[in-house]
Symmetry: C2
Subunit: 162 residues, 2 copies
DNA sequence: GTAGAGTAGTTGCAGACGCAAGTAGGCCCC
DNA sequence: GGGGCCTACTTGCGTCTGCAACTACTCTAC
């Protein structure tokens, strides 16, 4: 006992990573099968769908997601190639580019979301309603500490602090 | 409201993934800088260090980690190349191989763990002691549902059910 | 206005991964 | 005891990723 190899915090970090990776691979598989979208694409599309004008600056999108700017460039390349999103120039800053959802892109998220929710629910049945909101708040604390930039519209704001 | 694009469960899944990915990149960076180990290597080494005889079958190791068998093969190749682990034949099944920690490998985990714990603690300060154990139990439920195979020694057993 | 510093996004390159096919060994049953 | 089926691990191949270097533009100070 007292062996640092068995420290509780290692267990916690391990569980966080394992559950996230496991969930991602399960959801990704199902989404791919049922909608032909990778989880990554879905993630990008839904973030655009929730943004005003269905558009977001590249940098903003990169900050919200798991990707570096370089990774985002290629991901957007691929999505553009299949016509789900498009790039448009930013009028106020000619260096910048917007990624904007095409109609087809929006149509696809719209149909994918309910299906994805079914998959997700299958994995969340192990948690009660109150456990879910507990978990959400705990994770939010970690996320905000670990990647504060993701917050703006990474997810909808919680009840704001008074 | 009621828009499925804003469903609470999407937020929850998003937070789980974002916090895990964020944590991983932060911890990986620090560990790399301070110990010269990637998080992946550290993960493999510590799993071996906790196993009887500092050894595990390849398949078991693959199940516990984030890797497919093929990915594990290469990861072990690389670790073998730098002398942190070695492969040994399994006497009872000549198809199988054990990955076993070398002395140097064990020495490196031993010194890396306390450093890693410091890094980890920096991110966990946002949670109280009781929040940590709450979070641990919630995540364990998800992990067990999403990747039951990881359980055996993926982490130490919790208080067993009576 | 223009030099210099900083920022947005893209690309060359090398490393790592997963899938599917391959190899080698175990296991069962006739 | 040997054909057929399964399992453990490895390898070929295509894809994706991040880092660092690069281009193009903006902003500040003079």
């Amino acid at each position: 006992m007292g062996d640092p190899l068995d420290d509780d915090r290692l267990t916690l970090a391990g569980l966080l990573i394992e559950s996230s990776v496991g969930l991602r691979s399960q959801l990704g598989q199902r989404l791919e099968d049922d909608c032909g979208l990778s989880l990554q694409w879905f993630d990008l599309l839904i973030r655009l769908a929730r943004s005003p004008g269905h558009r977001l600056r590249m940098a903003e999108l990169a900050a919200q997601t798991v990707l570096t700017p370089s990774g985002l460039t290629r991901a957007v390349d691929r999505l553009e190639e299949v016509g789900l999103i498009a790039r448009t120039a930013c009028p106020s800053d000619r260096r910048g580019a917007f990624a904007v959802l095409t109609d087809e892109g929006f149509r696809q998220v719209r149909t994918a979301v309910p299906i994805h929710l079914v998959h997700l629910e299958e994995h969340l049945t192990v948690l009660s309603e109150s456990e879910r909101s507990q978990l959400k708040e705990l994770l939010r604390k970690i996320r905000d500490h670990v990647n504060p930039k993701a917050r703006p519209s990474g997810e909808l704001a919680p009840n704001p602090q008074p």
